[in-house]
Symmetry: C2
Subunit: 337 residues, 2 copies
DNA sequence: CTGAAAGCGCTAACAA
DNA sequence: TTGTTAGCGCTTTCAG
């Protein structure tokens, strides 16, 4: 069933069918009705590949999301979708797996969907200028921090938090409550991801506040899974390292840690305080409620779209926006006597 | 940058470029190297729309997932992806919003991607035969239960749990522990979704076990959000209805409920028992750990692919598989004295 | 208001 | 081993 068949069945030309399908004004009522009738009868659906192939422009903005159903992105995506719509563009979203190449995906989307711009969610930190050059339209990295990259900042925009500083502040919260033996729960050890950046913030705080330090206080697991965090922390507890608090680089890891602590007989927050970074929904439903530094998810999505549309419309150049975190005071912190 | 440009730049014909790009054997080493060099230099990426347009067949299996990042689907999708790969097919996944039309999406994918079959995740229950007819390839509904639909079961396959029975068994667990005043927390009230089916299972159990019944024991909210469940339960508690247990139709709702109970001064499980259905990861990290009837997620993904490939390969016809749930005994249940 | 025809970028016969 | 060519299904001038 192609446009040709519809044309034949409706007794009109291909162009007329196309016009009806695209709501062009200059079609007679009769022709329109005839075509629509046939379209409905045969449940004809135009081939999008053919459409895209022939089009030379669009109002599409691409969104590439890394990671299947990362709860953390849901709110951001919703916000991005709403803002793109509001600005008069169309969102084309593509989810990719953890190990897929987002730059390649973006480059393909750029060509196929005739994108005006791209937003990447959950990008890696290690792209080379070379790799990035396959994308020729403006793009903004959301929740991304090219701390280790050597990218030319004038070639793209970004919006995120200062992960290093957030970690520093999380540790500071513990310090202010009298904690000096603070373990860090991270994914890595050195995986060039956000985990590493936050770990460095922890180290900076440890140094600044003159806290206890050393490998004994590092709980390193190989993923961002709650289950792995649980197992890792449980095993670590057996070593009987002296500690009074845990800083987890993500809410998810903190959730695993809190269960491990409970199963290990440690009371949170009475015996051990726990703090993290992210502010996902689930961590607010724990008992005790997790204290965490929240990423401003709506704001991030909002700003990402704003940055991109400003560039597309020629209003501004590339910018790098660092948004502040806000602390959600739960029940997982207590002051040492 | 098109295949034509590459051909010109490499000094060969477009067919040769096409052959190189598609790894066809009959190309001389020199030609291949020349083409590859140009491709790399200019970061040429073939236009997938054009490719798809010209292709008449594929080994693609489409997967349509409803709902942005539903944690419940992650495991199923991972499993589906692995099985599709294993069976020698290629997975083409598309995520759609809660209010998007999955049948239309499926129909479009069928035509564009030349799919051999489709798997729907999280489908609605209310499609008409008419609507479904726009899909002409075999498809299987995963986690779907056409309890209220009037679909011809011989036209599609499905795999899921018996939601009504699962709810019944959940309530039975409470009954066996002496509970007679069991509230139900659901999303709806009558939204034709899985919530409704589980609610009917609750009603059946209430009748069979001669439990206390009535509207007072129904806590109805308008979403599957933890936050809404929290607010809803909190408000409901103010009514001071007599109850000793809550059956939540999903883990997410149970999480909201447990926090509301805690904030309202009710101890779980000492004063109130809570049970749910789903078995998502987060609910295992609660304190107390939620007792819930787990859906066999891996198995579901596994069987969905198996059903579909068997049909594609002509080995079998359509089937409707009902998988058993398994109880995860957490800490949210206690027996009444 | 309508139709004929060109061509989007690519693959796959078919020739050479 | 290579190049020529005919479409895939659609949109869009350009004539009528």
């Amino acid at each position: 069933m192609t446009i040709k068949d519809i044309a034949r069945l409706a007794g009109v030309s291909i162009s007329t069918v196309s016009r009806v399908l695209n709501n062009h004004p200059d079609v007679s009522k009769e022709a329109k009705e005839k075509v629509l009738a046939v379209v409905n009868e045969y449940k004809y659906i135009p081939n999008a590949s053919a459409r895209e192939l022939v089009k030379t422009s669009s109002d599409n903005i691409g969104v590439v999301v890394r990671g299947l159903s990362n709860p953390f992105y849901t709110k951001i995506i919703t916000e991005i979708g709403a803002r793109i719509e509001e600005a008069g563009y169309t969102m084309v979203m593509q989810q990719i797996g953890t190990s897929d190449d987002e730059i390649l995906t973006g480059a393909m989307m750029e060509r196929e969907k005739r994108l005006l711009g791209l937003i990447f969610l959950g990008g890696r930190l290690d792209y080379t200028k070379e790799q990035l050059s396959s994308i020729t339209i403006p793009f903004v990295q959301c929740t991304f921090n090219n701390q280790y990259g050597n990218l030319d900042k004038s070639n793209y925009s970004s919006v995120g938090i200062d992960d290093n500083q957030a970690a520093y502040e999380a540790v500071e919260q513990l310090y202010k409550r009298g904690h000096r033996n603070i373990a860090v729960l991270l994914s890595g050890p050195r995986d060039m991801s956000v985990s590493q950046v936050r770990y460095e913030g922890y180290l900076r705080a440890v140094k600044d506040f003159n806290l206890e330090s050393g490998d004994d206080l590092i709980i390193s697991i190989n993923s961002y899974n709650m289950a792995d965090a649980y197992t890792g922390v449980k095993k670590w507890l057996e070593k009987k390292i002296k500690f009074t608090a845990i800083f987890a680089i993500s809410d998810g890891l903190a959730m695993g840690a809190m269960k491990a602590l409970r199963d290990g007989g440690y009371k949170v927050p009475d015996e051990v305080s726990v703090i993290a970074i992210d502010g996902i929904e689930a961590s607010e439903y724990l008992n005790p409620v997790l204290t965490t530094l929240c990423q401003p998810m709506e704001k991030m999505g909002n700003r990402a779209v704003e940055l991109l549309t400003d560039i597309i419309e020629g209003k501004k150049g590339h910018e790098h926006v660092v948004l502040p975190t806000s602390i959600r005071l739960g029940e997982s912190l207590s002051a040492l006597k």
